[in-house]
């Protein structure tokens, strides 16, 4: 059995339950997932790291039927507002991909899955959301 690695560096697998972390601007509180040069809101350059909540609500979604090559369809892409702050995009999992089952405002929680395995047997762990 190989090792596991997060698909992106803002997904934390070690320690307690899997969760997302954000860079938080120490001046204005803006949250970011990417490597930062400065704050897009206030322009200041100091950041802390903050663990984000693992539950939230679907603010928007789309059900993708025609996708990039190699991506299984249909799947649900959603914008999720996390409890306690932070907005993130990922797939809604374990839910029939139709508008009768995916609903605006639905409560969801973070879950993880194996998105791929490399030649060393290392598994890339991705996150998505499922109904809470």
């Amino acid at each position: 059995m190989g090792q596991q690695i997060p698909i992106v560096d803002y997904l934390v697998l070690e320690g307690s339950a899997p969760h997302l972390v954000a860079h938080v601007c120490t001046n204005c509180g803006a949250l970011y997932f990417d490597r930062r040069n400065a704050c897009g809101n206030c322009g200041k350059r100091e950041f802390d790291t903050r663990a984000l909540g693992t539950e939230g609500a679907v603010r928007s979604f789309t059900i993708v039927h025609r996708a990039a090559p190699g991506v299984p369809t249909p799947y649900v892409s959603a914008i999720v507002v996390l409890d306690g702050g932070g907005v993130v995009k990922s797939n809604v999992l374990n839910c029939p991909p139709d508008p009768d089952h995916v609903r605006l405002g639905m409560r969801v929680r973070l879950t993880t899955f194996v998105a791929g395995t490399d030649d060393d047997g290392t598994e890339a762990i991705a996150f998505g959301f499922e109904a809470a």
Partner: protein
């Protein structure tokens, strides 16, 4: 400030579609020469040239077109700004005239896309790496498209529309579909549209689903085409013939914005805030009330996008975009006709040309020269484009005496 106005002297566009026998330079030259002829001027009258294009942006598109239509030594600006590229070319000429460096200039927008397919797939292709190694600004070890949501255009704009549906009552799949029903119907009157075929609401809703709620008939096509305008200072316009003066269209506002920071825009592009800011500024500068508009050409890259811009551009009461389309407000015989050209959805969307083709469309109506699709007695119109990333450009155009 009245003496500082910039006017549209000439305007032209090619039919949008697919041109196997014409390259970028052919299409750009066609539109440029037609716009010069339309304005009753020549390339030798131009003090500045701006060329907008995405796909061959590194190739000196403006100079390549100059070498076909006239190398006069004037400054050339090659610009690119996503789907706002054409409007950015217009503004480059507009600013040169405003600055007093030019009296007259030519803005060209051109694109050859062919059957390019879905736009916006970002990041690495899946399976490229044999050994996972974090890279990029998110430390991704593999392509994330389709794994961590979608960044493809049909989905991004679907999510933008569904955000609006989440916040407002009376907005759903049917309202979004009605937008496409309207634009396809409008396009049947426009001989320059890439497609000129009407579809029923049922046909729109039952077409192949691309990215819910956007079906195939709710997505703009890729294609080829070009558009061009000749802009002139008010002072120079006064020296031209009565016919040139009578057909000239006043640019009452030319505004560009980028997306201000919001707490979600780096995750899901926010096409609303910058449009709202641009619209407010444009109405203020022009002294025009949204309810005074006789027609609007707005950026309907997807049906979901058009609906939310009814609200962003203040064409309806706040939150009433669903009601506005339900009551046929944006149809050509409605309260404020929107996209009577057929819009991007049916007229087509050759990226670099779009932000000039909409100025051609509105100008043609203000001149009373739009033929079968003429909006009667049109006196004031608005054009709007969004380049994702984002850039928004709005022009308010008026029929005015000089």
């Amino acid at each position: 400030m009245s003496g500082d106005n910039v006017w549209v002297l000439g305007a032209a566009m090619t039919k949008f579609g697919r041109y196997a026998d014409k390259d970028l330079v052919d299409l750009g030259s066609d539109a440029a020469l037609d716009a010069l002829d339309d304005g009753g001027v020549t390339i030798h009258d131009m003090d500045v040239l701006a060329a907008g294009n995405m796909a061959e942006a590194m190739s000196g598109v403006g100079q390549r077109i100059q070498k076909q239509i006239g190398q006069t030594g004037i400054p050339v600006y090659n610009v690119t700004n996503a789907c706002a590229t054409g409007a950015t070319a217009i503004r480059s000429v507009y600013l040169a005239i405003k600055a007093g460096e030019a009296d007259m200039g030519l803005a060209i927008g051109v694109e050859k896309m062919g059957k390019q397919g879905l736009l916006g797939a970002a990041g690495k292709a899946r399976g490229d790496r044999k050994v996972f190694e974090p890279g990029g600004r998110y430390g991704a070890v593999m392509g994330v498209e389709g794994v961590l949501g979608t960044g493809l255009m049909p989905g991004v704009f679907a999510q933008a529309g569904m955000e609006y549906a989440n916040e407002h009552d009376g907005v759903g799949f049917e309202q979004f579909a009605k937008v496409a029903e309207k634009n396809h119907a409008h396009s049947t009157l426009n001989p320059l549209a890439q497609y000129q075929k009407a579809f029923s609401l049922d046909e729109v809703m039952n077409a192949e689903m691309m990215s819910y709620p956007n079906t195939l008939l709710m997505c703009c096509p890729t294609g080829d085409g070009a558009a061009a305008v000749v802009l002139v200072s008010e002072e120079r316009l006064r020296s031209l013939s009565p016919e040139q003066r009578s057909r000239a269209v006043k640019i009452s506002a030319s505004v560009m914005t980028s997306d201000p920071w919001t707490d979600t825009d780096q995750v899901q592009p926010d096409v609303n805030t910058l449009t709202r800011q641009a619209a407010a500024k444009a109405y203020d500068i022009a002294g025009v009330d949204p309810q005074d508009l006789d027609l609007v050409e707005l950026h309907d890259c997807f049906a979901t996008a058009e609906l939310i811009h009814y609200d962003n551009l203040q064409l309806c009461k706040p939150g009433d975009a669903g009601k506005f389309i339900d009551e046929r407000g944006p149809w050509r015989d409605g309260a404020i006709p929107v996209n009577v050209s057929g819009g991007l959805i049916s007229k087509g969307h050759p990226l670099g040309a779009t932000g000039i083709a909409n100025v051609y469309e509105v100008s043609t109506h203000l001149r009373g020269e739009a033929g079968d699709r003429q909006i009667p007695d049109a006196r004031v119109g608005l054009t709007h484009v969004i380049g994702l990333g984002s850039a928004c450009a709005i022009h308010v155009l008026e029929k005015a005496a000089l």
